[in-house]
Amino acid sequence: MRVVRSPGPAAASAWPRLSGSRGVGARRRPAMSEAYFPVGPGLGPEENFLSLEDILMSQEKLPGRVEAALPRLAAVLGKGAGAGQSDGIPEGSKVEIPLWLAKGLYDNKRRILSVELPKIYKEGWRTVFSADANVVDLHKMGPFYYGFGSQLQNFDNPENPEIAQTILQTFIGRFRRIMDSSQNAYNEDTSALVARLDELERALFRAGQKGLNDFQCWEKGQASQITASSLVQNYRKRKFTDMDG
């Protein structure tokens, strides 16, 4: 069987997979001043167990087709009431399965499920990306375009190499614009700039903005003013609400 993310003992047995995804791209050391340091996405066939982004990403729906009857899964897939008498899903029906479930059910040998590509990873869209990756609204189409695309490597699809290549080229093609906009937009509304960015790109954009803002702050002499650590500020806030409630 495969390990599916779920609460309880299964979560503990999922730990070993971390050793795989940790090796790639070691996390940067958290700055001491930050109360919470986010864990980045795994961006590979295995997701990063501790990454909030990856957890959200694993809920994304994947179109597929049931090859063997799935008893008692109708409720999970939201087909409970309408289907009528049985609470199972009959063979051959088309479903939209969340990624985490698809990964659990998918098995090459037993053929419980066949997975189709979401349209943004299909040939037609791949052509669009290779023409000009900058025009695509990845947030509307994604919003986890890169992470989800990497996860597709888990399902043996003949187009996998092309998908991986397109994803990489898309990232490279959009890199310049993200870099320039994040390093130049100082003190302005950035919502228009990030509106079309994928979640991964937004994190990058924030990193660029932080570099710019920190530097501007220093140049204006604000960096020499001593401010309370964010740790302390959070602590105070929490105490206040505790007293409230």
């Binding site: 991986a164 990489l168 320039d180 920190d214």
Partner: protein, 185 residues
């Protein structure tokens, strides 16, 4: 790293001051300083120079390169060449800011110097972005960045390393089968 931390490191740079008081040699962990005699130039770290200046206990002599003509030359050189040219000091940005803020009265043409340094800085950052883009576009594995200063690396460092991290991971996806499924049993 914070710009403030880069500034902290820059404060170790030595500058020349002319004190108007006398004091024996002082012994600090970082080394001995002094002795201080009125009217005799002495080399002290920037942090002490700024402190003395704020208490009006010295006159500051700007570093040799902090001169409008020299900086103009540096700026033109920087604009002309495709690669980064060596800077007169690894902390030129920090030094300029600190000295101009606290001792602008002892530096001639302070405003001009400020603009020139800022121009050089902008040129260099534009170059840095350009080379980062071509680095990513050509999917190079390594690059050599000579003559970059700490503060410059600092502004784009996090962004660039994160982006390269992502790119590396996306590229490993191109070679599947390497990380064989070990969860099947």
């Amino acid at each position: 790293m914070d710009p403030a931390e880069a500034e902290f490191l820059a404060e170790k740079e030595l500058v020349t001051v002319i004190p108007n008081f006398s004091l024996d040699r002082i012994y600090l962990i970082g080394g001995d300083l002094g002795p201080f005699n009125p009217g005799l130039p002495v080399e002290v770290p920037l942090w002490l120079a700024v402190n003395l200046k704020q208490r009006q206990k010295c006159r500051l002599i700007p570093p040799e390169w902090m001169d409008a003509e020299k900086l103009e030359e540096i700026r033109d050189q920087e604009r002309k060449e495709d690669t980064f040219t060596p800077m007169p000091s690894p902390y030129y940005m920090e030094l300029t800011k600190l000295l101009l803020n606290y001792a602008s009265d002892s530096i001639p043409k302070a405003d001009e110097i400020r603009t020139l340094v800022k121009d050089t800085w902008d040129t260099r950052l534009a170059k840095l972005r350009l080379s980062a883009d071509s680095f990513v576009r050509q999917q190079e594995a390594h690059a050599k960045l000579d003559n970059l200063t700490l503060m410059e690396i600092n502004t784009t460092g996090t962004f660039l390393t994160q982006a390269l991290d992502h790119m590396y991971k996306l590229r490993t996806n191109l070679q599947p089968g390497e990380s064989a499924q070990s969860q099947d049993f």
